[in-house]
Each structure stands twice: as structure tokens, then as C-alpha cells.
């Protein structure tokens, strides 16, 4: 078992660097300090939750579109069914989040899509797998971070169910990319910075 680690954190950060960067840290700090500790959580999303859920939903829609870009490029049948599955998963996550937050699932995060599009517009299976691995691990890390900010019970529980499968998808894509499986246990993906504001 020898696994090379995935891309260095710096390159992944660069991919996401400009996506929704405005005021994330401030938003996180404000939300974290404003919430009373151990108070009974609301079941349905608060206004603050809804803003963050919109960002999460748009990330998922961008992921779906990126996988569909690879399918449109005509990648090998060996991985096309897996890519269909991943696209379907992210579409389901977006719709689920939209349902919780009372949103329409029709606005992908264009910045994320634009930055990843070239990596996904490929027929090179290994190159696609590396991009997909980065995307899945980043999405999982982002949702994990958002779970600390959500107040509503259903936002937390739904997000947890998404994170678990994205973590598994990260291992599958690492395997296809030829990376070390042992390294796939602890990917160094950084969370995407989200502003908590609706994208235009």
C-alpha cells in the first residue's frame, strides 16, 4: 500500500481561492458567538441557516454540472456510470437542501464551476479522477464546517448524511486516480469559504 497524497493544499486552495470569499470568517465568527450554547435547536432553518444553505446548494449544483461536463466530453465508459452516479448524488443533495431551506435548486455556484471546468472537461480518466477527488473532499470539508454554523436540526442531520457519501466518493476517486488508499483516509482538503450571502 503506497499512496501518494492528493494535490497539495495550496493548489486546491488556489482552485477555490476566489470562490465566494467575501467576509466568510466574519460571518462564521458572528454566527458562532451569537448562538446560545446547548439551547434546544429549532427544527427548521433560521434566516442565517437559509443563507448558508443557499451557498451549500449552489456548490452542489456546480458539482453536478461539472460531472455532466465530463460526460459531455465523452469520457470512457469505464467510469461514465460512476460519473452519472456522482452527478445524480450532487443533484439530489442540492434538491434536498433546497427543500429544507425553501429555495429553488436552480442557481449553481458559477465561480466554482468556472474554476473547475477545465479540469472536468476531459477524457483523461486519471486527470478527471484527481479533479473529482479534490471536489468531493472539498465539498465534504465545506459541509462539515457549515454543520458548526447551522442552528436548525434538519439542516444539521441532512448535511451529515451528505458528508458521509462525499467522503466515500473521495476514496473511490482517489483509487481511480492511482493515489494511496491509506492517504485517502486523511485528505488535506480545505473547506470552501462561503459568504453566507446569496450569490447573484
Amino acid at each position: 500500500m503506497s499512496l501518494d497524497s492528493a494535490e497539495p493544499t495550496s493548489s486546491r486552495r488556489a482552485l477555490f481561492g476566489t470562490a465566494g470569499a467575501a467576509g466568510v470568517a466574519a460571518a462564521i465568527a458572528a454566527l458562532s458567538t451569537a448562538r446560545p450554547v446547548a439551547a434546544a435547536p429549532p427544527f427548521s432553518p433560521t434566516a442565517a441557516d437559509t443563507a448558508l444553505l443557499r451557498q451549500a446548494m449552489e456548490l452542489e449544483l456546480a458539482a453536478r454540472d461539472l460531472y455532466e461536463t465530463t460526460l459531455a466530453a465523452g469520457i470512457s465508459d469505464d467510469v461514465s456510470q460512476l460519473i452519472e452516479l456522482l452527478a445524480s448524488n450532487h443533484n439530489a443533495y442540492a434538491k434536498g437542501i433546497a427543500g429544507i431551506a425553501g429555495l429553488s435548486a436552480d442557481t449553481p455556484n458559477q465561480e466554482v464551476f468556472d474554476q473547475f471546468e477545465a479540469d472536468f472537461d476531459t477524457t483523461d480518466v486519471e486527470a478527471w479522477a484527481r479533479a473529482a477527488n479534490s471536489l468531493e473532499n472539498t465539498a465534504a470539508a465545506t459541509h462539515t464546517e457549515l454543520m458548526a454554523l447551522y442552528e436548525a436540526e434538519n439542516a444539521i442531520t441532512f448535511t451529515a448524511s451528505v458528508v458521509m457519501v462525499e467522503a466515500r466518493a473521495g476514496v473511490v476517486t482517489a483509487s481511480i486516480a492511482g493515489d494511496s488508499l491509506e492517504g485517502a483516509l486523511t485528505p488535506d482538503a480545505a473547506a470552501l469559504e462561503l459568504s453566507g450571502e446569496a450569490s447573484s
Binding site: 500500500m1 458562532s32 448562538r35 450554547v37 446547548a38 435547536p41 456510470q81 460512476l82 452516479l85 445524480s88 448524488n89 439530489a92 434536498g96 465534504a140 462539515t144 454543520m147 458548526a148 436540526e153 444539521i156 442531520t157 451529515a160 448524511s161 451528505v162 458528508v163 458521509m164 457519501v165 467522503a167 466515500r168 466518493a169 473521495g170 476514496v171 473511490v172 483509487s175 481511480i176 488508499l181 491509506e182 485517502a184 483516509l185 486523511t186
Partner: protein
């Protein structure tokens, strides 16, 4: 029949019923509402009503980790895995040990509870020991041990996914879902390292039938559902009986019957 023949038995039974009716009719209204007791069984007592707080969840999670570690070490002692598999299993054990340490730290520092240093008695008695007994006489110990490890990783992932929504403090919730992710990844790594690309995702996700191995036992998959599952998991292990049926175990995420309540005392 000897001392009491059938007719006498019926007569005595009728007498007993009639006497019961008389007693009930003579009693007060409150007494009549309570059914009488027959036989010598001890009176039913209500189970203790222990509360479930964050410390209970974290102690239970820690006990689950200890249970898994003990089980995997039993498999290593059984020596059913080849060198690479045993090496990977040790990596999984290391992951469980570090996860347990984190749960223990949170139990005291965040939840204000006491560390539970033992395995989970309910899981050991109801699941682990019976499964190990079946593996001991199995026709394919390697297959069964592999499937049990995959199942326990899946169950641990589902447990921590569920608990991440039950814990009240953010500083507990984040490590819990991180633990869940680690278990999900460990499951996927374990399955792929043994099954290769055939283990990437379940055909059921495309409406097809799940695969089985040459002995008819269901295969494991790294991606086995669209959303993380907290449902019970069935696992088929052991040799076939005279009807060609292997034993099926149903394992579940911890609940009221397997929580490590704050009132419980360690027995290990």
C-alpha cells in the same frame, strides 16, 4: 393421568376463574381495574429512567470504538488475513484508537462526564460474541471477517452521523462528524483494497441487483447509498446449514438499550 385427571383439571380451572371473578367483584373500583397475578414470577419492575445527555452519547461512542478494536484484534489473532490485509486492518485499528481517545477527551472536557473504559456490553453480548462463534466454525473465515469489518465500519459511520445531530455542543458535533467521515472512508478503503473497482458502488443505485460472491454472500460497496444511512445493517456469515442457509445478523446503531448511561459502572 395420575393425581388430577382431565375432568378434575377443568373443574379446578373453572373454580379458579370463578373465584377470580368473585374477588374482583368484591374489591373496590381501583383494585378491580388492576388484573390479578397468576403464578410465582417476580413482579415486573419498571426499567430505570436514565437521562440521555451528551456525556452518555460520547461514552457510548467510546464504548463502540473499544468494541470494534477488540473485535479487530481478535481477527488479527485468528490470522485469517494476508500480510497486506492485516497491515491495513492495523491502520483501521489506529483510526479507532485515536477516535476513541478524542471521544474520551470530549466526555470529560466538554460534556462533564466520566470516561467509560470498556467495550459496549450490549453489543459484545448480542453481536460480537455470537458473530465470532459463527466465524469460528465458518466455511470461509476470511470472507466473514472481511464482511464483518466492512459492516462495523459502516455501522460506526452511521452511528456518528446520527450522533452528530444529537449532540448539543458545536465543539462536540464537529469531532463527531469528523469521526463519521473517517469511518466512511475506512469502510471504502477496506472494501476497495479487497474488491478493487468492483467494490466502487452498488448496482442497486441504478436499480439493479446487488452482487454476490461465489458462495452467494452479498458483496460490499464503498458507495452503497445516495445518502449516509443510519438504518440497520444485515450481514450474512458462517457455513450453510442443512437447508443451505447461512446465519444473518442484524446490527443497529446504538439506542436506548445499548447506551452507556452515566449511572452505569464499568465492569471491565
Amino acid at each position: 393421568m395420575t393425581a388430577i385427571d382431565r375432568r378434575n383439571a377443568l373443574r379446578l380451572g373453572g373454580l379458579a376463574v370463578g373465584a377470580g371473578a368473585v374477588v374482583a367483584a368484591c374489591g373496590g373500583a381501583d383494585e378491580a381495574a388492576v388484573p390479578g397475578r397468576v403464578g410465582f414470577l417476580p413482579a415486573v419492575t419498571d426499567p430505570p429512567n436514565y437521562s440521555v445527555d451528551d456525556a452518555v452519547l460520547l461514552r457510548t461512542a467510546s464504548s463502540f470504538e473499544t468494541t470494534i478494536i477488540d473485535l479487530y484484534e481478535a481477527f488479527l489473532e485468528l490470522d485469517v488475513f494476508d500480510e497486506d490485509q492485516a497491515e491495513l486492518l492495523q491502520v483501521l485499528i489506529n483510526g479507532h484508537e485515536s477516535t476513541r481517545d478524542e471521544f474520551d477527551e470530549l466526555t470529560t472536557s466538554a460534556a462533564g462526564g466520566e470516561v467509560w473504559p470498556c467495550a459496549n456490553p450490549w453489543m459484545v453480548q448480542r453481536t460480537v460474541e455470537p458473530m465470532l462463534e459463527v466465524v469460528a466454525t465458518s466455511d470461509n473465515q476470511l470472507r466473514d471477517a472481511f464482511n464483518i469489518v466492512a459492516t462495523m465500519e459502516n455501522l460506526a459511520g452511521g452511528t456518528y452521523q446520527e450522533m452528530s445531530g444529537q449532540l448539543t455542543l458545536v465543539e462536540e458535533r464537529q469531532p463527531m462528524i469528523e469521526a463519521g467521515k473517517l469511518m466512511a472512508r475506512q469502510s471504502a478503503v477496506w472494501i476497495i483494497s479487497n474488491e478493487g473497482p468492483d467494490g466502487y458502488y452498488s448496482p442497486e443505485l441504478f436499480g439493479e441487483e446487488s452482487g454476490i460472491d461465489e458462495s452467494g454472500v452479498p458483496l460490499q460497496y464503498a458507495i452503497n447509498s445516495q445518502f449516509g444511512s443510519v438504518a440497520q445493517i444485515e450481514i450474512v456469515i458462517g457455513a450453510q446449514d442443512e437447508n443451505g442457509v447461512r446465519q444473518t445478523f442484524v446490527v443497529q446503531t446504538p439506542s436506548l438499550n445499548s447506551y452507556i448511561y452515566n449511572e452505569l459502572e464499568p465492569t471491565c
